[in-house]
């Protein structure tokens, strides 16, 4: 069983480039592209279904804006597109043995598009901008940097934990208040041109950074592209940064085109109006018939799940571990994946997904293979037996009703809810699907609304695998005390808390992958056994591009990390 998972994981790690047709000379495999000399010029048009919100990295809170800031600003570190491991980009990093001091040094070659070299101050400007901004949602990321909170609250005029080397203005050290294993990812922060944004982070400035005109019209960039025009609601036009420090891109222009919906993306890819974009599984078969495109598949960094409210006053059965296990055995997830996402997903039985290093490979996890008889016997053990109408009831005569909520407008989740409800009916549970608006659902979840029984929703994960915000017992909402959080299953376990804490702020200061991975194995094992979620599945991302686009190698952690190497074959 374990081997199977490992193989599956490995298969997903490789971006499967399946050329969709038999056209000769069509499918540009990476090896072919490597031997050919890249041609210069051309334009890449990427499709998005929502317009960007801002080009100020500190304020970015959506994928679309993140794509543009990722193209115009380089970061000090870049996570590997396949493994998520942080690697030097603008700067190199070293960590002290007590895991409290991080030292960075900018690459000597790194320059802004106006010719100025990148220096330590530029990173500090980014951090100060987070402190000054009132609208950023990222303040808590830096709370463990010594002096950051004081600066942010206006109690200090500088961040005491950041020290720039007086002898080398490209080198700086950050001191953390406590050992935090996510620091290396968190401290990537934002590297902003001080010559532009410096004036918004002086001692006297307040929150001007939030409305700075350069947020919508960036003038100086460090990335492979520079900003040219934002036609609101329609497209963002970027032109190549000819002086990009890692070598100018081959393509002349990158256009981020806003379209209304997924159907429009598929249509545009078919007609060639769009160079690349991601499509939904339901459109895959259709797109595969188009000879002019190629398809890259890779596993999504996230999963879709059914969360059980283990404290539900109405669906009391969910409090029992055996019932939740029965709900895992009682749904034919492989068949569901075939029906709902056309097989383009992998069943999940843990919180971490296979592409993350934290994915549990060293521990035996129950796979919850579909087994209706086992599900029924578990329900019986838990005291739920069929009543006269065939619906399960407990000793007190209470019927097993189950409302599965999900956010409306997401066809995939709506279908999943419908299919799950139907399969649970087969077990004798009176289940029904109930889609509702995302905004209402989110509020119910974070405030711990007791009317929710089961919820289908998804998590997007990151390169840093810390699950504290979702699974630590401190994150369970408490409506009575108006405490909010993402722990809406109400499930807690002291051993799980300890594993999360040890991997987050280890008492021995050991932040190595090997040591943290062990903790996450314990953590996932507990989740796997207790089933506060049915972990559902991790989708495949289906990136479709025109055959003419070369060196395009997207992965779970990034699609554009090598954009300066892309070229268009004429």
């Amino acid at each position: 069983m374990r081997r199977l998972v490992a193989v599956l994981g490995a298969a997903m790690l490789v971006a499967v480039s399946c050329s969709s047709s038999g056209t000769p000379g069509g499918g540009a495999s990476p090896s072919v592209a490597a031997t050919e000399k890249p041609q210069q010029g051309g334009r890449v048009i990427e499709a998005t279904i929502s317009d960007i919100a801002t080009m100020q990295p500190v304020l970015v809170n959506d994928t679309a804006s993140g794509r543009i800031t990722g193209l115009i600003y380089d970061n000090i570190l870049q996570v590997d597109y396949k493994t998520g491991e942080p690697k030097p980009r603008l700067a190199s990093a070293t960590v002290s043995s007590d895991s409290l001091k991080y030292t960075f040094e900018m690459n000597a070659k790194a320059v802004w598009s106006d010719g100025k070299p990148l220096i330590a101050d530029d990173w500090l400007t980014g951090l100060k901008a987070v402190g000054k901004s009132k609208k950023t949602v990222r303040k808590s990321t830096f709370k463990d940097v010594v002096g950051f909170t004081d600066y942010s609250d206006g109690k200090a005029t500088s961040i005491s934990g950041v020290a720039i080397d007086p002898a080398n203005n490209k080198k700086w050290t950050v001191t953390m208040a406590k050992v935090s294993c996510s620091a290396i990812i968190d401290l990537i922060g934002y590297t902003l041109p001080t010559q532009v944004f410096g004036k918004y982070v002086t001692d006297s400035s307040k929150d001007e950074i939030d409305t700075a005109p350069e947020n919508t019209n960036p003038t100086v960039v460090s990335g492979p592209f520079k900003f040219t025009e934002w036609r609101k609601g329609d497209q963002v036009i970027l032109d190549k940064n000819a002086t990009y420090w890692q070598g100018a891109p081959n393509i002349d222009q990158y256009v981020y085109k806003v379209v209304a919906n997924q159907t429009a993306i598929t249509n545009g890819l078919k007609t060639g109006e769009i160079t690349w974009g991601t499509i939904q599984a339901k459109d895959l078969a259709d797109v595969q018939t188009v000879a002019t495109v190629k398809i890259d598949k890779y596993q999504n960094l996230g999963y879709t799940f059914i969360g059980w409210n283990t404290a539900s006053p109405t669906a009391v059965g969910l409090a029992d571990k055996r019932v939740r296990q029965a709900l895992a055995y009682g749904i034919d997830m492989d068949q569901v994946i075939k029906a709902v996402v056309f097989g383009e997903a992998t069943k999940q039985v843990s919180h971490h997904v296979p592409v993350q290093w934290a994915y549990p490979t060293g521990v035996q996890l129950e796979q919850y293979k579909y087994d209706k008889a086992k599900a029924q016997s578990l329900l019986k053990d838990a005291g739920w037996t069929p009543g006269p109408d065939g619906i399960l009831q407990n000793a007190a005569g209470k019927k097993f009703n189950l409302t599965i909520s999900t956010n409306s407008g997401n066809t995939e989740r709506e279908t999943l809810a419908t299919v799950a409800a139907e399969q649970y009916k087969q077990l004798g549970i009176n289940a029904k699907a109930a889609p509702e608006a995302f905004q209402g659902l989110v509020t119910k979840l974070t405030t711990g609304d007791s009317t929710l029984e089961a919820t289908i929703i998804g998590w997007s994960l990151g390169a840093e695998p810390d699950p504290y915000s979702i699974w630590h017992s401190s994150q369970i909402p408490d409506p009575a005390k108006k405490v909010e959080g993402f722990g809406f299953t109400y499930f807690k376990d002291p051993a799980m808390d300890k594993a999360i804490e040890e991997a987050r702020n280890p008492s021995n200061g050991d932040c190595t992958v090997a040591s943290r991975k062990k903790q996450y194995e314990t953590f996932n094992k507990i989740l796997n056994e207790n089933q506060p979620y049915n972990f559902g599945y991790a989708n495949n991302v289906l990136a479709v591009s025109q055959q003419s686009l070369q060196s395009f190698k997207p992965g779970s952690f990034s699609a554009i990390y090598n954009v300066n190497e892309w070229w268009i074959k004429k």
Binding site: Q262, T263, K282, D283, A285, D286, D332, Q335, V336, K338, A339, S408, G409, T411, E414, T415, A417, T418, V419, A421, E422, A433, P435, E436, A437, Q439, G440
Partner: protein, 310 residues
């Protein structure tokens, strides 16, 4: 305006050929001769019956429950065997024909009941505003101008985006927003009628307000209201489908023609039959309602009588 006996686009209809009848008799006489309207009415009644009897058909003809899934038989092409596959199956192997019948229940229910709400709000408000005038009329006038000033789809959209509706809330929302047309019409007619001689003389002989309104004004206003209502129902069925397209209509798994059409459209290349059947149902229903509205107008509207009757 030419008299009733005058030319209808050149065709002379001898006045004495027609016995004098009341408005309703006259309308009925004309309706019976309007084959298109008859055909539309029959079709509509048939559609309504099919929908109302959906459970009976599901159990006895198709032997398939509307929520029944079969993940091994998704996207089955339309076929006679088994009967449940008459219009094919959808993405989770449900019978399209059975869902279509149940979807009709929801769509037609929403259409008719919301129109009824419009009617029940619009007529009394319009009569009262037109009859009593004064501050109440000013207020209603302001309210209508205000509601009509907001593009309706925006209003519906915000409400629907913020409170995701089920069939009943959708009825309430549409019902409470859509009444202005009927009210405006009622008010206008009432204002012009209350100055007529027979109304003033009714007042003179001591008739109460209620008597004047119900005996003299309402019967004169009602016929055209029915035309407006028929067209209204069609408009609401279309509106429901548009809201579904925006993801704000009746939510699946409850079937409605609107959400079936929207859902089917995303599988167009895989299964065209999922798009065609709800589309045809919506088209047919709305078409019939408009034809009936037209027919009623021909039959009832004395002004249009001269040039729209054939």
């Amino acid at each position: 305006m030419a008299t009733a006996a005058a030319t209808a686009g050149g065709v002379i209809v001898p006045a004495e050929a027609r016995p004098s009848r009341s408005l309703w008799d006259n309308a009925w006489y004309k309706l019976r001769r309007d084959r298109l309207t008859i055909a539309a009415s029959v079709t509509l009644v048939l559609l309504a019956l099919l929908s109302i009897l959906a459970p009976v058909f599901a159990d006895n003809v198709f032997h398939y429950k509307f929520e029944q899934q079969d993940l091994f038989h998704t996207y089955e092409k339309p076929s006679f065997d088994p009967p449940a596959y008459l219009l094919g199956t959808d993405e989770v192997g449900r019978s399209q024909v059975v869902r279509l019948l149940f979807g009709g229940q929801v769509s037609l229910f929403v259409g008719f009941v919301a129109a009824l709400v419009n009617f029940l709000v619009g007529v009394p408000v319009g009569l009262a505003a037109g009859y009593f005038r004064g501050p109440f009329d000013d207020f209603i006038n302001w309210l209508i101008t205000t509601l009509n000033g907001i593009p309706q789809i925006y209003l519906l959209l915000i409400i629907a985006a913020l409170w995701q509706p089920g069939p009943l809330t959708l009825i309430a929302i549409i019902g409470l927003l859509n009444w202005t047309g009927i009210t405006l019409y009622c008010r206008g007619q009432t204002i012009s009628l209350r100055e007529r001689e027979y109304i003033t003389s009714a007042h003179a002989i001591g008739a109460t307000h209620a008597r004047v309104i119900f005996k003299h004004i309402l019967p004169n206003v009602l016929p055209l209201i029915f035309i407006l209502a028929a067209i209204d129902v069609g408009g609401i069925v279309l509106l429901e489908s548009a809201l579904s397209f925006l993801g704000l209509g009746i939510l699946p798994p409850t079937p409605s023609w609107g959400n079936m059409l929207t859902g089917g459209a995303s599988y167009f290349v895989r299964a065209w039959w999922l798009v065609v059947s709800p589309g045809v149902m919506i088209f047919l229903t709305v078409l019939c309602l408009y034809l009936i509205g037209d027919g009623l107008r021909d039959a009832l509207d004395p002004r249009l009588k001269t040039h729209e009757s054939h």
